[in-house]
Structure formats: structure tokens, C-alpha cells
């Protein structure tokens, strides 16, 4: 038998569906506009009023890896652009910093979750407080620190504009987040499991790897997604601390806002490609994320 709904319930139901639909449209319009712009020709992009119907082209994507000049004979490729390399930088720095933030954060969270640590609460608050300042506040002192160069004979080394420098910074930035998120998950896992494993003749570290970590996977996945997103989207540090070698994709896309006009088509195409890795990663982790979101609410 179908459940009976009162008028009030029906109004509430359709009303909430309506509100969610409106919100969804508001969220999706910029994404749509980005995708549409990336597929428009230069002429269509600049059309006033804006065109809703246009002939799609993949020119913006095709020319993304190159530098071009446009003259009477049309668009000509004159060299390679830095975008593919910057994209690769983003992937390397994002992935490596996520890995280390997760590894360090999970171990720290496990330690604070299971062992008596002196001034534990203060320590955890301190770890969190590193995230309270906006990047712009700390970027100048960090710039100065990163500019210090180390000279050993002919060897000359500084952190500025290196993959290592940016990875280090993103790891430090994300580790606080990872500690807090992972602590929540690890606190939920009864310590009986690792005690059982230790009595089954594993060392504590083995017990952590074989028994605790598999159960914390939803938390690990959720934390990884958040860390990757924040490293991936980071703009301010990348803009100021890198120039060419270790520059990431976001600042490269922004640099298209040049003095010789704005190449919206290229910016849009670059941004769409830039969205893909995180979108794919999040999609792959979706089951874990869903379990992560409802963690602790299920009766065990």
C-alpha cells in the first residue's frame, strides 16, 4: 500500500525539491558557461549579446599546448606553451603533498587518539591554528625564508621555485587538516581491534597497518580528497613562490590575463582540463566518501 501524504507533507516535499533544483542551477551555470566558452570560437566568445547557440570548436583545446600568433593568414603555431608542464607540476605537487599530509596526519592522529600525550588538547589546537591564517598573511615571511640560498661550493640551492618547496608548504598546510579529520575517524574505531591483533602476535605498527588502517579507509579517502582539492586549487603561494620551474596550473591559467588582451577561450579550456583530475579522483572515491559522511552513525 502506498503511504498517504497530507497536503502539508506534499507542499513540503515539492517545495524542497524546487529549492534544491534552483540551487543546483545556480551552481551549475558557471560550470556550463566555462565549458561553453571553452568550446566557442574567439568571435562567439566576444559576441554581444552572449550567444546561447553556437558552432562548437575544439580549437581552444588544440592550441593549449602551443603558443600562437594570429595574423591575416589565420592562427599559426610558433612554439610550445608552458601549460602542459605546469599541469604536470600541479599533478606532482598535489599528489606528493597529499600523500605526505595523509601519512603524517594519520600517524599523528593515531598517536593522539591512542596514547597519553602531554598537553594533547593544546597540541591539537596548535596544529589546527596553523590553518587559521589566510595564506596572504604568511606569504611574505615564507617568501623571505624560501629565498635564503644554500651554497655548497658550486652547488646553489633555495626552496623558491622548486617542486620540493611547494610540496613542503602544501604538506605542512594540509597536515593539520589531515590530523583533525583522521582523529575523528580513528577515535571511532574501538581499540579492541588492535589489541586483538597485538595478542595475535602482531607489533603495534603491524596492527595499525593490517587492522586499523583498513577500517579507516573511508576517512583516508575523504581526507585525501580534501587535501588534494586544497593543494590543487592553491593559488597565492604558487603565484608568489614559483616562477617557471615549479609553477602550477592555476597561476598559469591566470597569467593568460595578459596585457595583449584576454584569451578567454584558452583560459576556459585550461580551466576545464584543470577540473578533470580532481573530479575523476573524487568520482573514484565516491563510495568511500559516502561511507565517510555517514561514519559513526551506523550501529556496529
Amino acid at each position: 500500500m502506498l503511504p498517504m501524504f497530507t497536503v502539508r507533507e506534499k507542499v513540503w516535499h515539492y517545495g524542497s525539491v524546487g529549492i534544491v533544483s534552483v540551487l543546483l542551477v545556480i551552481y551549475m551555470v558557471p560550470l556550463y558557461w566555462l565549458l561553453a566558452t571553452s568550446l566557442k570560437s574567439q568571435h562567439d566568445i566576444n559576441a554581444v549579446p552572449a550567444k546561447w547557440v553556437f558552432r562548437p570548436t575544439i580549437a581552444n583545446y588544440r592550441y593549449l599546448p602551443f603558443t600562437t600568433v594570429t595574423d591575416q593568414r589565420g592562427i599559426r603555431i610558433v612554439g610550445t606553451s608552458e601549460y602542459p608542464w605546469r599541469f604536470l607540476n600541479s599533478i606532482i605537487i598535489g599528489a606528493v603533498s597529499t600523500f605526505f599530509a595523509l601519512a603524517l596526519g594519520t600517524l599523528c592522529a593515531y598517536a593522539t587518539s591512542r596514547f597519553p600525550v602531554a598537553a594533547k588538547d593544546d597540541l591539537l589546537f596548535f596544529i589546527l591554528s596553523t590553518r587559521m591564517l589566510p595564506p596572504m598573511v604568511v606569504v611574505i615571511p615564507i617568501f623571505l625564508m624560501y629565498s635564503v640560498s644554500l651554497k655548497l661550493g658550486n652547488f646553489h640551492w633555495q626552496l623558491r621555485d622548486t617542486h620540493f618547496g611547494l610540496t613542503l608548504l602544501y604538506t605542512a598546510f594540509n597536515v593539520s587538516f589531515a590530523v583533525w579529520l583522521m582523529k575523528g575517524y580513528l577515535d571511532e574505531i574501538p581499540k579492541d581491534y588492535e589489541e586483538a591483533a597485538m595478542l595475535d602476535r602482531l607489533s603495534r605498527f603491524q596492527a595499525f597497518l593490517k587492522v586499523v588502517l583498513p577500517q579507516a579507509m573511508p576517512g583516508v579517502a575523504a581526507t585525501a580528497v580534501f587535501c588534494l582539492i586544497s593543494a590543487w586549487n592553491e593559488f597565492a603561494f604558487s603565484l608568489i613562490l614559483t616562477e617557471t620551474k615549479a609553477a602550477t596550473a592555476p597561476r598559469t591559467i591566470a597569467s593568460k590575463l595578459g596585457s595583449a588582451g584576454v584569451d578567454w577561450g584558452q583560459i576556459a579550456a585550461g580551466a576545464v582540463l584543470f577540473l578533470l583530475p580532481v573530479a575523476i579522483f573524487t568520482f573514484l572515491m565516491r563510495h568511500h566518501l559516502l561511507r565517510g559522511a555517514t561514519f559513526g552513525t551506523i550501529k556496529r
Binding site: P190, A196, M198, L199, D200, R201, P214
Partner: protein, 365 residues
Amino acid sequence: MAEVHLVNLVKRFGDLVAVNKVSLQISDGEFFVLLGPSGCGKTTTLRCIAGLEVPDEGDVFIDGLRVNRLPPADRDIAFVFQNYALYPHLTVYDNIAFPLRAVRTPRDGVDRQVREVARILHIEPLLHRKPHNLSSGEMQRVALGRAMVRRPKVFLMDEPLSNLDALLRVKMRAELKRLQTDLKATTVFVTHDQVEAMSMGDKIAVMDQGLIQQVGTPDEIYNRPANLFVASFVGSPAMNLVPCTLKETDGQRRLTVHQSAWELDAPEPVQALALQGKVNSKLVLGLRAEDMEVLTEPVSEGVPVEIYVVEPLGAETIVNVKVGGHIVKVRARPEFRAPIGAKVWLRWNQAKVHVFDAETTKALC
């Protein structure tokens, strides 16, 4: 299999002394029960034997070897947790195989031993399932299987039956006892359920507030409780305890129950102690429900009482009678019935009278 020996074990958590100078001798192949109310330190004692807690003072010996500093993994013991602690991401098979694989047992050896244990515990059809698809009784068996598979020196069990429903608990009680006898495994079993302790234990240690109150066979614990705590904790219904005083009338020492007309002869040991002047004026009389009877006709060595309430339980009837200001529970025939307020007579078995010192709480006889 092995002996376990605890010597003056002390474990503190901050200001709380969870285990206070506990000494125990657990023999080879013995089913040893640690019985006590929640928070009495029995689980902490067990965790000290396991190595999950490090004692602040005292020693733990397993098979004559001092293991205080030995990590749990090296003690060769198996622990069955109250919530079973089955690894949720592994199948039943992998759960049971886990301790074998941890010590790198060859694959065919693992398979043979897991199947052997599964056969003994009747869990063969469950081997491919994950723990969340098991009933609590099945989980219980798997947890036992994981403990058994390694053939450890000692089994430690922390209230393993308390998460089962009442019917299954009674069934598993008998099975566990049988299994332990078959395996001849030294077992330390923690419980707050005195029925479990009585029915399963070869020996029982009753604990309260971190202290061992009495160690003995179930018979000794039941028939000769060492103090008021043991008397009140063991037995269902609990021993009737009523305050009384020792009075001398006509050269005879008699016990007089407070606020009532109930008088009875003081047992021999109490008489003897009284002669030496070693008896406190405040005493407690203890009588088990089955050592008294309710009579509808007056008797010479009885005391007139009033029915407070009658509890028929099927196999027996518990009659609550009012003696002065006290309610006393008496076991009666299943068909015994009487209206509330009825006048009846209470008779007791003089040989089964217990007397405790109200101040030291120690048994005088």
C-alpha cells in the same frame, strides 16, 4: 598449557586503585573465574595478564616465567573480547587464520587448522562470510575459533557471554565449559554473572573494589562465604542478611535480630569467640533462602512472621516474609501460595546459620 601466577599485582589509574595487591595461583588446565561487579578491577587484572596493561607493582608469571615486560604478542595467550573484536574487513576464514598468518604459518597448515577449528565449533558454513553478516552467537564462536586456532598457553575471556541473548547464553555456557574440558586449556574467565561463575568455574575469585574477597571452589564460595560482600553477591536470590546482636540470657548466648522477636542460638564458633571477648556487639545474621522454610502451622522453634509478597517462579516459589522491619526471602515448594499479610511461621536450619561481624564484614562462622 600453563600456570598463571599473580603476585601482589597493583594497577592504578590516576588516584583510582583498580587492582589492589592481587595475588592468585591459577593451575594448569583450570577454568578460573574472576567474579565481581562492574568496576571491581577484574577486567584490569585480566588485561595485566594479557599485557594490555602494565602493572604498577607486583609480578605476573606465566609458566614460571616473569612476563611483566613482555609485550602481549610474546606471551602466547589468546584473549576473547566482550565485543568479540572480529576484524570487520576480513571474512570468518581470514579472521581465524589471522593469528596463524601473523607468525607466517605455511598456507596448507593454515587451511588445515582453520578447518579443524571450524569443525569443532560448527562454523564451517560461515567461513566465507564477513562478521557483519553474523549473529552474535556466531560471532562468539568465531572469536573462540580465533583464540583456539593457535593453541595458546592460556585463554583469557572478558565477559564473552554478556552480549548474547539469555537463551543463547545458557547454551553457550555449557558448550564453553565442555570445550574447555576437552581442550584442557588453562582459562581465566571474567564475569559479573554469578550464575556463570558457579556453573563454569573450577575455581572462583570474587573481587570487589580492586581487592580479592575470596578464592575457592564454587561450593566453598557458596557455602562458606568469607565476608558480607561474597555472601550478598553470590547466590540467587542473595543470602538474607539481617542485623542482630549477641545477648546473654540465662547463661545462654543467643542472637537477637533487630526490631523483631526473632531469636536464635548462636552457633558454636560464635560462642567460643564470645567467651574470649572477641565478638563485636554489632553482628549480621546470614541465611540462604533454601535453608529456611515457611510453615502455615505454629512450630516451637519457629518465629511468627507475616507474608509480604509471594513470587511464583514455576520450578519454585520465593516467599518474601516480614520479620520485624526486615524482608526475608525463603524458597518454598512451587505450589506454595499465601495471601499478603497472612500469619505464617518461619523455621531455619541451625547448621546453616552464618554470622558476620558488621564492622569488619568478616564471617565468624
